[in-house]
Amino acid sequence: MTAIDEPGIRAATALTAREVKRQEKDARNKLTSRGATLAAIVIAVVWTIPTFGLFVTSFRPGADSATTGWWTVFTNPSFTLQNYADAMTSGGTALTLGQSFINSLAIAIPATIIPIAVASLAAYAFAWIPFKGRSIVFVGVFALQIVPIQMALVPLLSLFSRGLTINGVELFPGFTLRDVDHSFATVWIAHAIFAMPLAIFILHNFISEIPGEIIEAARVDGAGHGQIFFRLILPLAMPAIASFAIFQFLWVWNDLLVATIFAPSSSLPLTQTLNSLSGSWGAQWYLQSAGAFISIIVPLVVFFSLQRFFVRGLLAGATKG
């Protein structure tokens, strides 16, 4: 600040009138900034209270939260962990919230690894293997984000479950996964597909920035594209890959739509189970609140522990979906 202020101070000392005016202005700026801070705190409080209210409710006994508002806890505190135990095991015999928590993990981790691997291969080719029409194809891939995933859901689902039949000739049958215990394959593939345009775009932006001399030097040393990709590009692009991985992981974890369409009933993730339970729980807020926080906990841990990567991934991946 001082370096910037210095010429200003010199100019001000030259003109006394201006100096006075400046002091006045400083005072006014301070005033507005105090008001601004107050306004900011109001916004922050308004933004936090809904989450806080539900958080408090999740620890209140069910009888209390059904009859009194969560704010009464400050005058009449009583807490329990029973809500979480109840929420984890509710959901009938088919699929409890606890089981779908595991399903969510089994969906989100492969659905993060697969698209990143495939996309980084393609991104490398777009960045470092020249071919005719490269930039047009690349823009085309980026533009595929034009397709809202809602548009691709139904045909993709019928491709998976009923296969492909053209003009009455059956080319291949779909997958017969109906009787399988925990089938996530179609969800993995669907997530991998929907992540592809953005993943290629982001990873390409990063991989193409890697200095060409490094790659040229490796090539002179006799490395082919396979080695260059595995031993040079992957390590160098790790920051970008990590950012996108976190973004993609949270996107899949928080996703409801793709899971609704593609996941068989025994393989439903947390979001979907929570959504249907939420309907049957109705006004039983002690269950709703505990259930919501079970689903929120993983994103919040990721968010607080890896905030820097998360922000970067989010900013780069803003237009997904």
């Binding site: 922050a44 690894i113 293997i129 034009i146 000739v169 399988v180 739509l257 919040l300």
Partner: protein, 434 residues
């Protein structure tokens, strides 16, 4: 691709012949495909496989414990990627061994890929024919490539997995949805524009269009303005980081979680209120309101608040970064000229972050057009609170109405289209500057 091995035979055949041969092979593939799909359908045809297939792998892995599936799929997938990388590394090299490696890969990979899908027995012969022809075409085009043999091969292997996913998973489904939108419920009878007429006249369709437009207009505006104001207010304030986290946290939460959080705020019942909003209303002497059933449009705005709540943090973080990038000298100069805080903000800061504001606005607009989860969790589209992204799934899942569902998806596509075109143009412009 730097590896050029000038074979003698390659020199002798002129390049135009290569083109002709490639074209003939391509035509042969198309012809084979045409013959295949005009065959008489065979009743009771069964899938054929080599004894293993993608399906059998999925069935096997699906029987395992979910947590066990994670490492297994990771290892299998890593092995596939490993094979790809090994091929990319070794196949382009000159020498007879590598030559045969390329030959083998060109024929085995397409054959294996098709067989893994278990073609029906009546189509098998054609499918295998197409696979082998495609392999031969790839090998020949690669062998005769201008940049030396191995060049086309590695390019295809690098790009094929992504291209397959994109073509099968996005391009084909999108075209198929457009096609379906002109057919009736079951997809058998052509009905022209009837589904589109339904979209704009049926209450569900009509409200989904109206509400989607409201979402797309209101949500970006409010999220961006609040995010910007907040970013300016907390800029260089004490505890800036902490204040940022408070508003940013909802970004990490799923819409399902956010929906439940806000359903609790909107809770309505007789007697004592446990929902914050109705507690305030009754505390001020008013009557409690069933917010999520309140019409017209009140429930839509209640849902919008949830969306704005989640998006403001995103806008704030992006704009805050942009504000910090505005040169301090400019602000100081404006101050010296006697501008007050508001004038500095309007004349220096806002022009300085204009491009970021545009990015935030377009991003949130696209997100608000596609919203599904919030509506599904909070109202289930009841009481005219539905939107296109939700109604489309609703029509398909509840009413099995593929025609209506497709038409709604196409309308959504038309809304998103101009924004993405704008984004693509921005991207190209940026590239030119670089």
């Amino acid at each position: 691709m730097a590896v050029v091995s000038p074979g003698v035979s390659r020199r002798r055949i002129p390049r135009s012949v290569t083109g002709v041969i490639v074209a003939v092979a391509a035509i042969a593939i198309v012809a084979l495909f045409a013959v295949m799909i005009t065959r008489q359908p065979v009743d009771g045809a069964v899938p054929t496989s080599l004894g293993f297939s993608l399906n059998s792998f999925f069935v096997w892995i699906g029987g395992l414990h979910p947590l066990l599936q994670i490492p297994i799929i990771a290892i299998v997938f890593a092995a596939v990627v490993g094979v790809i990388l090994v091929l990319i590394e070794f196949a382009p090299r000159p020498g007879p061994g590598y030559f045969w490696l390329r030959v083998a890969a060109c024929f085995v990979i397409p054959f294996l890929a098709f067989m893994l899908l278990r073609p029906y027995q009546n189509a098998t012969i054609y499918v295998v024919g197409i696979a082998l022809l495609a392999g031969a075409l790839l090998f020949f085009a690669d062998y005769r490539a201008r940049a030396g043999s191995g060049y086309v091969f590695q390019l295809v292997i690098f790009l094929a997995p992504a291209a397959l996913l994109l073509l099968l998973g996005l391009v084909y489904p999108a075209l198929s949805t457009i096609w379906q939108s002109f057919f009736d419920k079951t997809g058998d009878t052509f009905v022209g524009l009837e589904n589109y007429a339904w979209t704009f006249t049926n209450p569900d369709g009509f409200w989904s269009v109206i509400n989607t437009l409201i979402w797309a207009l209101v949500a970006p505006l409010f999220s961006t303005v609040i995010g910007l104001v907040y970013a300016v207010f907390i800029d260089r304030a004490r505890g800036e980081k902490f204040l940022k986290v408070l508003v940013f946290m909802p970004v990490a939460i799923s819409f399902v979680g956010a929906g439940i959080i806000w359903k609790f705020v909107y809770d309505f019942r007789q007697g004592d209120q446990v929902g914050l909003l109705n507690a305030i209303v009754t505390g001020l002497g008013g009557e409690p309101v069933s917010w999520l059933a309140a019409q017209p449009l009140i429930n839509t705005f209640c849902l919008l608040i949830v969306f704005i709540w989640t998006q403001t943090g995103f806008a704030m973080v992006l704009l805050s970064a942009a504000i910090k990038a505005v040169p301090g000298e400019q602000i100081e100069a404006a101050r010296l000229d006697g501008a007050n805080a508001w004038e500095v903000f309007r004349n220096v800061t806002v022009p300085g972050i204009r491009s970021s504001i545009v990015v935030v606005l377009t991003t949130i607009t696209i997100a608000s057009l596609k919203v599904y989860d919030i509506v599904a969790v909070m109202t289930g589209g009841r009481n005219n609170s539905t939107v296109l992204g939700f109604e489309m799934v609703n029509q398909q899942q509840r009413f099995q109405s593929y025609g209506h569902s497709s038409a709604l998806a196409v309308v959504l596509f038309l809304f998103v289209l101009p924004l993405i075109i704008y984004n693509v143009r921005q991207m190209r412009k940026q590239k030119e500057i670089r």
